[in-house]
């Protein structure tokens, strides 16, 4: 039970803020450290200000094949550019774990798919999503058709873009959402 990385208060705080147990938090710390052993100290009791660049995060095996990895890192990082501290790292995997509730996941999913960060998923965001999903294999007309259909289906307040409420209303009913929006680490 003796570990010298965190103070007991820090560990308790992490346990409160995330859905992980002590063991998992320590395991995640070691994964974080393995990305750049020379940058991450083994002693976090004095809360060092260590940030790992996005390139290291994006090369993790759990994330490297995900077309949305850049957006995920940007959403959870403090500076909005994908460079993550340990807190951001734990936060990210906590939301994406299977213990996180549906509403929380829906909130963060909305932020991930909102490419221009204007709190609305507009048509250009949808187009970017489709192109990332199909690796640009659809023709522009097809992409446009898909985006129009999505707005037609999900836009309840008729402003031509999806707000958080529209998105949540739609995604809550999806049968696959919880099982696909899930990363195990």
């Amino acid at each position: 039970n003796k570990q010298t990385i965190f103070t007991p208060e820090q560990l308790d705080a992490y346990q409160d803020c995330t859905f992980f147990t002590r063991k998992e938090i320590l395991r995640l710390f070691y994964r974080y450290r393995d990305l750049a052993p020379q940058l991450v100290p083994l002693d976090y009791t004095d809360k060092p200000d260590v940030t790992l660049p996005y390139e290291l995060i994006g090369s993790m095996p759990e994330l490297k094949d995900n077309p949305f990895r850049q957006r995920i890192a940007e959403v959870f990082s403090e500076d909005g550019d994908g460079n993550m501290t340990l807190d951001d790292f734990l936060d990210m995997f906590s939301v994406l774990s299977e213990m996180a509730p549906r509403d929380l996941k829906a909130y963060y999913a909305f932020k991930i798919y909102d490419f221009n960060n204007d709190d609305y998923i507009c048509k250009s965001d949808l187009e970017k999503t489709v192109n990332k999903l199909t690796r640009n294999e659809l023709t522009p007309e097809e992409v446009s058709l898909v985006c129009e259909k999505v707005i037609y289906e999900a836009d309840l307040d008729n402003d031509g873009k999806l707000s958080l409420e529209d998105f949540q209303h739609m995604i809550i009913r999806a049968p696959d959402f919880l099982s696909t929006f899930h990363i195990r680490i």
Partner: protein, 509 residues
């Protein structure tokens, strides 16, 4: 399969007719009978249960209100960590989007209803003509072959001898392509077009068979010419379903032969244990039938493999390598790579299963052989598809039509159990071989068991229960309940639709 294998576990003739075997008093004949009946009953139940489950899912999972949104936001699986899986996932997402787009465009298109209807009627008329034409052709050819047979087969060349077989195979090869061409007139959604195609091919095979049987009907009465006919039958190692009915015919003819002539030799049942192959046995028509079925399965397997190799592989090789030195672009025009033929493969599987169901009563190891064949053919076809086929141009999910294929399977199951049931109920088993020998009818094993093994009141109860006066009202009750359930399920579906429409209009307000 003559010789040693004939007397092995594979075939019906191996099991003797002792009532009980060994110290456990294992009732061999009873168990054989019950296993046969039980397998068929179990198959029926499985098929119906699958259909019910599929119907449930289709009704419940039909919520298309967020189709595109869900495709966009929930189709990527965040757990993927492997580049190949990721590639496959990207491809499948793209396909799924394309399919949804096609469906959307279909529903938006405005059609000229009258022209479409006229074309569809015309297409159906053409299909009917083709079916009638093929039926008449078969009738004509069979009559001719009878004429040849009467005059002795040696006078004619190879074509005349195998004429019926060749004609049926050629029809089976070319008519489906013809149906395909006709269906391009109809302009249906690919899923519906596939169903029509399957239905027509099915009708073609059934029609051919029935014409064949009808044309031969007279022969059953003229037992004199039975022998050359039997030789003709033996030559038929051709395609699929024709064989089923031919063998059914075989059985009837064998029964005729039993009545006609050969009194089985006196078979001594020596008290000492002898190798089964040495025991002299009387003629055993069930084993013949079993052998016929096994031969059928094997030849069907060979035909499938050879068709794949020649039809797909050689064609692909030809197109690939001769493209450089040919006048027109082989890959785009004719013949190009072959498309993956969904209807042909599904029908092949279903007919194969029908054969197995028919034959398993007479050759108990047939299902095992078939499992082996299915394994090998799956791998072969997997390779062939990857290497030589191109996907169809219009993308659609064939697996949504699950219930349709299940319905076909059910129909074939019913058809294949008819001959077995017929033989159980009306043809006497062979004198000397098999678990039922010596009895007048196969199902008497049940009445025997009832008499000897169960208490007497059971027999009385059974006697009362099988009284026609009790059975008829029961059947009537079942028919009425089927009608009632059908009516209520229709009304529920309509109510469901109404509610969905209301929901839609409330949201759009």
């Amino acid at each position: 399969f003559q010789g040693f294998a004939q007397y092995s576990v594979l075939f019906y003739g191996y099991y003797n007719n002792q009532r009980t075997i060994g110290w456990l008093k294992f009732r061999m004949p009873l168990s054989y009978f019950l296993v046969g009946v039980g397998t068929i009953g179990y198959s029926f139940m499985i098929v119906i249960r699958t259909m019910a489950r599929n119907a449930n899912e289709e009704g419940g999972g039909d919520d298309t209100s967020f189709n595109f949104s869900w495709k966009m936001f929930t189709s990527w699986d965040y757990l993927i960590g492997n580049p190949e899986t990721a590639d496959n996932k990207f491809a499948s997402i793209t396909t799924s989007f394309k399919e949804a787009i096609v469906e959307e465009q279909e529903s938006r298109k405005e059609e000229n209803i009258h022209l479409t209807r006229f074309l569809r009627v015309l297409a159906n008329f053409l299909a009917l003509c083709t079916l009638a034409g093929s039926g008449y052709l078969i009738f004509f050819v069979v009559r001719r072959s009878q004429k040849f047979a009467l005059e002795g087969l040696e006078n004619y060349g190879w074509w005349e001898r195998n004429e019926v077989n060749m004609v049926m195979s050629l029809l089976g090869m070319f008519c489906p392509t013809l149906f395909d061409v006709i269906s391009s007139l109809e302009n249906y959604h690919p899923r519906i077009a596939l169903r029509w195609q399957l239905g027509r091919i099915f009708a073609l095979f059934l029609g051919n068979l029935y014409t064949f049987i009808i044309a031969l009907m007279d022969e059953i009465n003229l037992k004199a010419s039975y022998l050359p006919l039997f030789t003709i039958f033996n030559i038929y190692q051709g395609k699929d379903l024709e064989e089923e009915k031919i063998v059914k015919y075989n059985m009837t003819i064998w029964e005729a032969s039993l009545y006609n002539g050969t009194i089985p030799e006196n078979s001594t049942a020596p008290p000492i244990h002898v190798d089964p192959a040495d025991v002299p046995r009387g003629p055993c028509w069930e084993t013949m039938v079993g052998q016929e079925f096994v031969r059928l399965t094997v030849s069907d397997t060979m035909t499938t493999y050879i068709t794949i190799l020649i039809g797909d592989f050689l064609r692909a090789v030809f197109v690939r390598f001769f493209n450089y030195c040919w006048c027109w672009d082989l890959e785009y025009g004719f013949p190009s790579y072959s498309e993956f033929d969904i209807s042909g493969n599904v029908l092949g599987l279903i007919f194969n299963q029908g054969m197995i169901w028919m034959g398993s009563f007479y050759a108990p190891c047939l299902p095992a052989i078939n499992v082996f064949r299915l394994h090998t053919s799956m791998y072969l076809q997997c390779w062939a598809v990857m290497c030589c086929n191109v996907p169809q141009e219009r993308v659609f999910k064939a697996s949504r039509s699950n219930n349709f294929y299940m319905a076909m399977l059910l129909f074939i199951l019913f058809l294949s159990t008819l001959p077995a049931v017929y033989t159980i109920v009306s043809i006497p088993p062979s004198f000397d071989c098999g678990p039922f020998s010596g009895k007048t009818r196969m199902f008497e094993v049940i009445s025997e068991t009832l008499e000897h093994d169960f208490p007497s009141w059971f027999g009385k109860v059974f006697g009362y229960a099988s009284n026609p006066g009790l059975i008829l009202p029961f059947i009537l009750l079942m028919v009425l309940s089927i009608y009632y359930l059908n009516a209520t399920s229709k009304s529920y579906k309509e109510a469901n639709l109404e509610l969905k429409k209301k929901l839609q209009s409330v949201r759009n307000r």
